[in-house]
């Protein structure tokens, strides 16, 4: 049942055990707002707080948990502008566009994607957030200038409506029941 889950950073293929799966599901529900949240999670699964902390540490070491953090609705704090920027591939021999883009601190996501030849030649995608469209636009223009990307080689796509935004891995919905 858990056969397809492996620790990616491990040299061996170590399987996640059912307790890990259960722990990931508990964590995904959100850390409780009590002074000792790991202990509280442990209580629900008959583990001590120390055991919970140790398992989380190992799951991080194995690259399964990237980090534990607050999910924030940035729009409610005034960060209402969101842009996806599509960048065209660089000229031959100029293969590090992705790393260059990713190095800018305000870039929250940077992906390389397969283009649609003849219809859509953009290969790199970055996401930017800001208090206003003007600020985001200025930031993107500055980045384009620094990496030497001409105006016609990138496209700024501001979001106008958000229909869905959830973590891309959710144990309960799409990650936790491998067959």
């Amino acid at each position: 049942m858990f056969g397809s889950l492996f620790y990616p950073n491990s040299t061996r293929s170590v399987m996640l055990d059912p307790v890990d799966i259960c722990l990931l599901r508990e964590l995904e529900r959100g850390l409780p707002l009590v002074p000792a949240p790991y202990e509280e999670i442990g209580r629900r699964m008959s583990l001590t707080g120390d055991e919970v902390v140790e398992r989380i540490r190992l799951l991080k070491e194995a690259g399964i948990i990237r980090k534990l953090r607050a999910r924030i609705d940035q729009r409610k704090v005034g960060i209402s502008a969101n842009a996806l920027v599509a960048w065209k591939a660089t000229r031959p021999g100029d293969s590090n566009r992705g790393d260059l883009l990713a190095a800018f601190p305000p870039v929250t996501h940077c992906y390389e994607r397969r283009p649609v030849p003849g219809r859509w030649e953009y290969t790199h995608y970055t996401v930017h957030h800001g208090y206003s469209r003007e600020m985001v636009q200025d930031e993107i223009r500055a980045i384009a200038a620094q990496i030497g990307c001409p105006d016609l080689d990138y496209l700024i796509l501001f979001s106008t409506l958000e229909f869905k935004r959830v973590p891309n891995v959710r144990m309960r919905e799409n990650g936790g029941d491998p067959t």
Binding site: S4, L5, F6, P8, L24, L27, G30, L31, L33, P35, P37, E39, V53, I64, I65, R66, K67, L68, R69, A70, I72, D73, Q74, K76, V77, G78, I79, S80, A81, L84, A102, T108, H109, C110, Y111, E112, R113, R114, V116, R119, W120, Y122, H124, Y125, Y131, S132, L155, F158, S159, T160, L161, F163, K164, R165, P167, N168, V169, N174, G175, P178
Partner: protein, 170 residues
């Protein structure tokens, strides 16, 4: 929606700190409170208020998709016929394989992501969506992920910006 003045500078410090990896100590809120210079009780009160107002959506792990068997992902853009945006967006959002679904200001107006165990799984979801919505292939851009180069969602909340909040469209 919360009134603009209900978030003060200490709240912003709390929000900034909570976006870092949470300390793996038995009392993590206290560890962060000590760094900010407030008491553990105040820290928890503020977190509770920020959660109630919907600013904090929860404190949870960021999971690595590949380690949980999700080996394929794509970004899809659709040109949506006038008047059908809400209906089509709702159809797409119902899929658990879809995590992000945004309208963007472009001819291709609806942008969403699909993650699945393999390319086959992606294809199945996308074909189903196109079949259900009747969008022709010529109005679709399917942009599979070749490489995740960076994912680091972190907002820097600036007090001075916060005071002159921009309340325009998103």
């Amino acid at each position: 929606m919360i009134p603009p003045d209900s978030v003060d500078e200490i709240d912003l410090a709390v929000l900034n700190a909570l976006q870092d990896d949470l300390p793996l100590v038995s009392r993590p809120w206290k560890a962060i409170a000590d760094r900010i210079g407030i008491s553990e009780t105040e820290m928890m009160d503020r977190m509770k208020r920020l959660e109630e107002s919907g600013i904090i959506r929860g404190i949870s792990p960021v999971l690595e998709s590949r380690s949980l068997g999700l080996h394929a992902a794509t970004l899809v853009a659709l040109h949506v016929p006038e008047g059908r945006l809400d209906e089509i967006a709702a159809t797409i959002s119902r899929y658990p394989e879809v995590s992000h679904n945004f309208e963007r200001a472009h001819h291709y107006s609806l942008w969403f992501t699909i993650a699945a165990r393999n390319e086959e799984g992606i294809r199945k979801v996308l074909n189903e969506i196109l079949h259900q919505t009747g969008i022709p292939a010529s109005d679709v851009l399917d942009l599979p992920t070749i490489k995740k180069i960076k994912i680091n969602v972190r907002f820097s909340f600036l007090p001075e910006q916060h005071q002159e909040r921009n309340v325009g469209p998103c």
